[in-house]
């Protein structure tokens, strides 16, 4: 699950910085676009990790939030793969 969260951060972070690096206000544009895009991933990770940290727990992360995280990763990885050529072509 944490690997999925890492993947989400890596994929979205790379995509957003590839967009932002060519702009004039690059230090501002990057986080401003990246933060809203990452919020669902962060929420899903927090919700999925929450039960693991409780004292009396069954020990397995709730499947629903892990599924959301996996779906998020899948969609954004495919998208980033599809659009990345357009960002680098010069």
């Amino acid at each position: 699950m944490l690997a999925l969260a890492d993947l989400a951060l890596a994929v979205v972070g790379t995509l957003v910085s590839a967009i932002a690096v060519q702009t004039r206000a690059r230090d501002l544009i990057g986080p401003v676009i990246g933060l809203p895009l990452l919020i669902p991933a962060l929420i899903a990770t927090a919700r999925a990790a929450g039960p693991l940290l409780e004292a009396h727990t069954s020990g397995s992360p709730p499947g629903k939030w892990v599924a959301i995280l996996a779906l998020y990763d899948l969609v954004f990885a495919l998208l980033a793969y599809a659009v990345f050529d357009f960002l680098l072509e010069d």
Binding site: I19, T23, A25, I33, P36, I68, F76, L79, F86
Partner: protein, 242 residues
């Protein structure tokens, strides 16, 4: 050369009639809600605005796919106008939603409510679309990067929506479900009428803006041909595609 002006008059008339009819239905036909009374009628405006603006964002993403596939700058213009219109509709939905929340929950804004916050996130994310365009100088690169952003954000909209639907805490009323919900027939009909009205309004405004931008470009081209290149001042740096 495309002419966006074609059919504009008929579309405008259809929009005006549908919206007038929908408003008449809202005020004179739909029954008063049992426990909320008159305030509930703002839903006939608020929910269609929210739905149409989300669809407009997605449409912007689809137009942007067209731009990246074909390299035709007109697709970029379509995506730009769609996102710009959807942003205006989205802000209107936020305002009407706040008015209802104040009347019904007693607060203008409730941070613990996933639907509100996720919608705000989507609107704020699209609010960065124009600063992003503005901060890229080369017009060709501007169009390409804006399209990439529109596609990514367009995919984000339904994902965000699914995540919110799965979250448990419902305070925000959900009357519109796939199974038909529990709306009485007359309310349902009124709601669908106002949804059609707002959707038509979106399409009409989109067409108007496309026509205006298209005409301005044709005018500049004609002046340049007639008077020579020096007579037409170059456009300043702008967020809008040219």
């Amino acid at each position: 050369m495309t002419t966006y002006g074609r059919g504009l008059r008929g579309l405008t008339l259809a929009t005006i009639t549908t919206n007038t009819l929908a408003l008449a239905l809202v005020f004179f036909y739909a029954p008063l809600d049992a426990d909320q009374g008159f305030v509930q009628k703002i839903f006939y405006i608020h929910v269609p605005l929210a739905i149409v603006s989300l669809c407009g964002f997605i449409a912007g993403g689809l137009f942007a796919i067209g731009h990246l596939r074909s390299g035709d700058r007109r697709w970029d213009m379509r995506a730009y106008v769609a996102i710009h219109m959807a942003l205006i509709f989205g802000i209107a939905a936020l305002i009407t939603g706040s008015i209802w929340a104040k009347a019904s929950w007693g607060h203008w804004w409730v941070w613990s409510e996933p639907t509100l916050v996720s919608y705000l996130i989507v609107v704020l994310m699209y609010a960065t679309y124009q600063p992003l365009r503005f901060s890229i100088e080369d017009p060709e690169r501007q169009a390409r990067y804006a399209s990439v952003f529109a596609i990514v954000a367009g995919a984000f909209v339904p994902l965000n929506f699914i995540a919110v639907r799965l979250a448990q805490q419902y305070v925000h009323p959900r009357v519109l479900t796939l199974t038909g919900g529990h709306l009485p027939g007359s309310m349902r009909f009124t709601f669908l009428a106002s949804l059609a009205g707002i959707a038509l309004l979106f399409v009409t405004l989109w067409k108007y803006e496309m026509t205006a931008k298209d005409m301005r470009m044709q005018l500049r081209r004609a002046r340049r041909q007639l008077l020579g290149d020096d007579a037409v001042r170059p456009l300043g740096r702008s967020a809008a595609p040219s």
